[in-house]
Amino acid sequence: MTESKSTVSGTPATHVRMQGALNLALKHALAEDDRTLVFGEDVAKLGGVFRVTDGLQETFGIDRVFDSQLAEASIIGMAVGLALHGYRPIPEIQFDGFAYPAMNQIVTQMARMNYRTRGAAPMPITLRLPSFGGIRAPEFHGESLESVLAHVPGLKVVSPSSPNEAYQLLRQSIADPDPVVFMEPKARYWNKAEFDPHVPVSDYLPIGRSRAVRSGKHVTLIAWGAMVAKCLRAAELAEEDGVEIEVLDLRWLKPIDVAGLEESVSRTKRAVVVHEAPFSGGLGGEVSSIITERCFDSLRAPVQRVAGYDVPYPSGALEDQYLPSVNRILRAVQRVLEYRRG
């Protein structure tokens, strides 16, 4: 946390971890708006199992930052009730797999209250959900729920790939009047990167916009969360062979940046979408459909998907076999580059 402290004191922090950037975003949100509340399992005294909420209770007190009971449906039900009372709840569900017992409240209540009440009861809730795999965790501590959540009308879904994205996207999610599920890539919590919390809000990309994190002209790789870093690594390796890969960080999984996908792929004419979630019914299918609908005439190859397999998320020892690897990504890139119409 030394990084964020130096930032708060005005010294420009150059590199922080995503965990520190998220902590700072929560700190700033709590300081700016009395209606914001942070709660969840072990978020207060412990500071969260990933320490994202570290020190917040000390600064803002037990009324603004508090520990929830071990009952996930209650965390979301509580958030809905607090929103009805005029608060802006920022609940945490400790691990993505623990969202399953809360699914009733997420889908039937949090997502629908604004619609059900014809806008009279908006739900400005930001549900922080440590997500995805890559940390050798026990069962249900590493899931990829994005296609399930993005399919629910009324929910917005977002996942950051870097400390800067984490800070800006969390601030935007908290300020947004709609419920946002904020999927934090656990595997990236401890990676340091350049960080500047002083970017004016007017310079943030709007909600629903993707970001090209690397430009290229031969193929577009589309990813989110921890897979963005893997795609960047693949792009570096491909560059050695003269292949210029554009990497598009989708960021928002609902709403999806249809225009951004169209813009990039109509230039590169080839696309590969990469995600950790199981292949069939994954969000890669949606992205692939959007590209096919919008860029059919310019496509030089069918859109490829690199994803997890259609298996339950495996144990740590098998994790690397399951997750898309740089090698699998590069093979898909090769397939779209070498594709010839029959």
Binding site: A71, A73, G77, G81, H85, N104, N114, R116, R118
Partner: protein
């Protein structure tokens, strides 16, 4: 109105009038908030909710009805059994944090008492001594399953002790008993003494909904036994016996009720067809580009 085709499907409250009116009128509309299910017309009446807006839900116009739940202090109609019980606890947490003296009253039935969320809600409310009243209308039947197959130990109120909160079982067909119990629970919550479970023993005299057939699971004898304890008839008898109201009063009340019902009928009939655009409104505070595109496509499809 359902039989006339005016209403699609309705969950009648017949038999539960005392439980609903007696509790609903106890709320302070300036600071309390009620969380209904889909069978709380009586509470809506007691709290002065716009009844045309309330019944619009059963007309199939809008799931949550057309009334404003925030202005009415009467939450949106919620079709999910036990769905809003946790919301009352969260709202009560907000009331406690802001110190506004408000109390949440959540309605649920014997069927909902089996849902895990109800147990979670009582446990949480007990830990923080939240200002919430758990108002259980034990009407004997969750569609076709009798309460004795729903509630281990035979009582919902009895569970309160284990959560360290107050629990009372009352005659839910006695409107005065209901009023007193609710006022006591509200006062206790306002004083910071925490939640109360009120189990109002009553009877669903009608079907679960207008598409239900109680003849398949309960006897006419059973229904007749409860009809002899009709909450409206027995309260009228009591008012007569104690000389509080005379025939003149009952005639006037009946006429007023008929006038009010006519006004609601007329209001519902006047709602007419709804604009199809509403399909797309209110999903988000501001529609996404994809939703706008879908709305546009829908508009074009209506011009074929």
């Amino acid at each position: 109105m359902q039989r006339e085709g005016l209403i699609l499907a309705y969950s009648p409250l017949r038999g539960q009038e005392a439980a609903q009116i007696g509790s609903g009128i106890a709320l302070d509309l300036a600071r309390d908030f009620a969380f209904p299910t889909y069978r709380e017309l009586g509470v809506a009446v007691a709290m002065g909710v716009d009844l045309v807006g309330y019944l619009a839900s059963y007309l199939g116009i809008w799931h949550g009805g057309l009334y404003d739940p925030m202005a009415s202090r009467f939450g949106s109609i919620n079709a999910v059994v036990s769905g809003s019980v946790l919301h009352a606890v969260g709202w009560a947490k907000g009331a406690q944090l802001s110190g506004d003296g408000g109390v949440a009253v959540t309605y649920f039935g014997d069927g909902a008492s089996s849902e895990g969320e109800v147990h979670e809600a009582m446990n949480l409310a007990g830990i923080d001594k939240l200002p919430v009243v758990f108002f259980c209308q034990n009407n004997g039947w969750a569609i076709s399953l009798a309460a004795e197959r729903q509630i281990a130990g035979g009582t919902v109120a009895g569970r309160a002790a284990a959560y360290g909160i107050e629990g009372v079982q009352i005659d839910g067909n006695d409107v005065i008993a209901v009023l007193h119990a609710t006022r006591q629970a509200l006062a206790r919550a306002r004083a910071g003494d925490g939640p109360t479970v009120i189990e109002a023993m009553t009877y669903r005299a009608g079907p679960h909904s207008t598409s239900d057939d109680p003849g398949r699971y309960r006897s006419l004898d059973d229904e007749q036994k409860w009809l002899s304890r009709d909450p409206i008839a027995s309260f009228a008898e009591r008012l007569r016996a104690e000389g509080i109201a005379d025939e003149q009063f009952f005639l006037a009340a009946s006429a007023e009720a008929a006038r009010a019902a006519d006004a609601v009928r007329a209001g519902l009939a006047a709602l007419g067809d709804r604009p199809g655009e509403e399909l797309f409104d209110f999903v988000f505070a501001n529609p996404t580009a994809t939703l706008q595109e879908q709305k546009h496509a829908w508009q074009e499809s209506t011009h074929d």
